[in-house]
Amino acid sequence: MIDLQEPYELHIYMLLTHIRYIHTRCILVSRLQLLPTCTRFQEILRQYTNELRDVAKRPRSFLTQVLNLGCIVFSALMLWKGLMVVTKSESPVVVVLSGSMEPGLQRGDILFLSLYSEPFIPGDVVVFQIEGRDIPIVHRIMNVHEKDDGKLAVLTKGDNNTVGDRGLYATRQMFISRKEMMGRAQVFLPHAGMITIWLNDWPWLKYVLIGSMGFFVIIGRDT
């Protein structure tokens, strides 16, 4: 409790009041400056919400828009499945994520793979995935051993690495087999896959892009 009879306490009280006044003014000014931006953002949000509500009021139109969105999504998926069927590879298109194959293949290059019945030979650039590992590897075949029963034992190495890939294989695995092979690189597109790397590095970007595209298709702004 401040006793305002004492002069120094009066000074402190006035100082505290002044500080409080300035603090309140600062908050008010900053909020007023943000107000036009917030208002505009709220207007846009209200507009899109109303558009979504209008679309939902017409069931036939809403169903048409949802099916349009479904067809767009499935077009991409079916294109991918079609490539899988034609190339016989489970992952017909991959992006190079590391620099282990430089200077031939750079980070961000897109590779088109195939898994036809031609034999694997040293020098082939192949993509393989070790069991238990999430990310496939793009490296070059160094040695191929084929047993009498047709089983394949392949040793790989990155062009930019000093040693073979045994350190990347599973514990006690000396070679990779045919079932770990995803495909042989046939064609590559330089730097065309950088966007995949960005989406990999910032996963939230994927959801924002796909979510906003889907939203605009639903409200009918897909032209």
Binding site: C71, G82, M84, V85
Partner: protein, 179 residues
């Protein structure tokens, strides 16, 4: 002519062809049924059914079939998907075109087209129909969008409806001549 009770339609951006066409499309979809024009859902239903078949092929190939075991069946589903998707594209390109609603006028199925060419300020409203297997009647009216929208982006319902009713009368006259 009595104006039906329809909410105000507003184009968010007067320079956006999409917004302008959307406002006009929503107006016709709300107003025409309330004015007594009977909607014909035949081609819309065909399109919905074809899209559902496409999505069924897609869902089956994506979620049920496994690669490489069912590679042939996946191929069949992919082919089926693109076949039906092609049919949908055919209907969109040659039948529905730029139609916003399909109604019955004088017992005939009529598509109401609302079109704006890119980088153009003109909006064209048209009525399109086929009479018999070979003959068709088509009437349209083109004018600046400023005739229909005010500076705030609100659609002038009376103006657009007046032009539409003139087109209907013209269409009925053309139809009676052809028939």
């Amino acid at each position: 002519m009595e104006l039906p009770d329809v909410d105000d339609k507003k184009a968010g951006n007067l320079y956006s062809k999409t917004d302008l066409l959307k406002a006009a499309s929503e107006f016709f979809n709300d107003a025409l049924p309330r004015m007594g024009f009977q909607e014909d859902h035949f081609w819309t239903n065909i399109r919905i059914i074809l899209c559902m078949i496409c999505c069924s092929f897609g869902c089956y190939a994506q979620f049920v079939l496994k690669f490489p075991k069912d590679r042939i069946y996946i191929g069949v589903c992919v082919a089926g998907y693109f076949l039906f998707s092609g049919l949908v594209a055919f209907i969109d390109m040659f039948v529905i075109k730029t139609s916003v609603i399909c109604i019955k006028v004088s017992g005939q199925t009529v598509f109401v087209d609302v079109t704006m060419l890119p980088f153009s300020q003109d909006m064209e409203i048209g009525l399109r129909n086929r009479i018999g297997p070979k003959r068709k009647a088509e009437v349209s009216y083109k004018t600046s969008v400023g005739h229909y929208f005010d500076s705030d982006g609100y659609l002038g319902q009376e103006e657009i409806l007046a032009e539409f009713m003139k087109l209907v009368k013209k269409f009925e006259k053309e139809h009676s001549k052809e028939a």
